[in-house]
């Protein structure tokens, strides 16, 4: 199951001390993301082909020694992104 962010041309982002405010053209809504969610979104934006939760976890874990169950941390964030319209599940075919 791959996840993809909304087309990044439709997102406006501004970072303040690790937190991220995001405006989504598709919904017209603005959101505040905590540092973890911000990283997840940024990582998705940088991978337009889509990422699985495991791949996301691997990228976030790069350079961090502490073990963490990244999936458990990331899943709720991805669900929330879907609810907010910031990301969606992609089929395994490449995005059109």
């Amino acid at each position: 199951m791959r996840w993809r962010s909304v087309d990044s041309n439709l997102l406006m982002l501004r970072e303040f001390d690790g937190e991220l405010v995001v405006r989504n053209d598709v919904t017209g809504s603005t959101h505040l993301l905590d540092p973890l969610a911000a990283e997840v979104l940024r990582t998705l934006i940088a991978a337009p082909e889509g990422l699985t939760a495991a791949e996301l976890g691997a990228r976030l874990a790069e350079g961090i020694e502490e073990q963490a169950d990244w999936s458990a941390l990331i899943e709720p964030t991805l669900m929330e992104f879907q609810r907010l319209g910031l990301a969606e599940r992609a089929s395994s075919a490449s995005p059109s």
């Binding site: 053209d25 598709v26 919904t27 017209g28």
Partner: protein, 354 residues
Amino acid sequence: MTSPLIAALRDPAAVRSWSVPQWERLIRQARSADLLSRLAHLLAETAIPPGPRRHLVAAQVTAGAQAEAVQREVAHVARALASTGVDVILLKGAAYLLAGLPVSRGRVFNDVDILVPREALPRVEAALMLHGWAGSHHHPHDQRYYREWMHELPPLRHLARESVLDVHHAIAPLTGRFRPDSAKLIAAARALEGQPRLKVLAPVDMVLHAAAHLFLNEELTHGLRDLADLDALLRDFAREASFWSALEERAHELDLSLPLQYALRYCARLLATPVPEQYLKDSIPVWKRGLLDALYLRALQPHHPDASDRFTPLARALLYLRGHWLRLPPHLLLYHLTVKALRKRPEEPLTQGR
């Protein structure tokens, strides 16, 4: 017609020499007629004194936001109806906007209107409900009015977004005197670039729909705004040489010649739309022409104390009744008006703007 708003719509350049009181009346009338942003668009290249200018700028901000909201709403509707296999035809503002027509610039947008075949209504309604739209007008009488007698579902409101969607299956009431064939409209509809399941009416049909909406509807609250739409559509489509004859022919085919005549007549009279002379000859008998002029030329003025005379309320009331009459046969009309009068309306808070 001395309304500054109509004068400015006819000849935007003329405002350059206007006095302060004229500007004031213009801004007030335009605001009350929902034409402030259209005026801003027409005056984009004109030097405007700072006082009036801020009001035009403010109106443009609002209109821009509404246009974006309509784009979003149309995307939602398209997604919701994708699985039904129905071709959705956008009407009015949403159509003008998505087709990129000049009439959409500076236009105020509210609800989204769509046209679907009548037999598709049940599955369209079901798909919309599934995606969060809910019906309004729950009184059984209103439901009947809309579904059986008029040409639309009662307006649907999206529960989360609070936007309103009007689903039509015809462009004029089933029970009215004029019954243009929806199948013909649907057959002639044009696809929108990059939008697989969305269509808009053919240009002549857009004009005829606008004319039918203005001259067959019961309320003229936005009469001038609707007339301004017609003016913009006509000016744009008339660039095609064959347009006028095609328009006349199609009106005849759809039995909408009468509303078209009224539309051309009042566009030319009030907004100086360049309608070729031969299409202004009318078959309206002279005696009737005078009466209609007395009614419409007053009722199409901006709804503003400035632009009315003592006959205007009566003119509007008569046209309201006439509009209703055109939509419902007399015995049904009486029934409908009586029920409307007897039912208690819940107290609505007066809200500003839209």
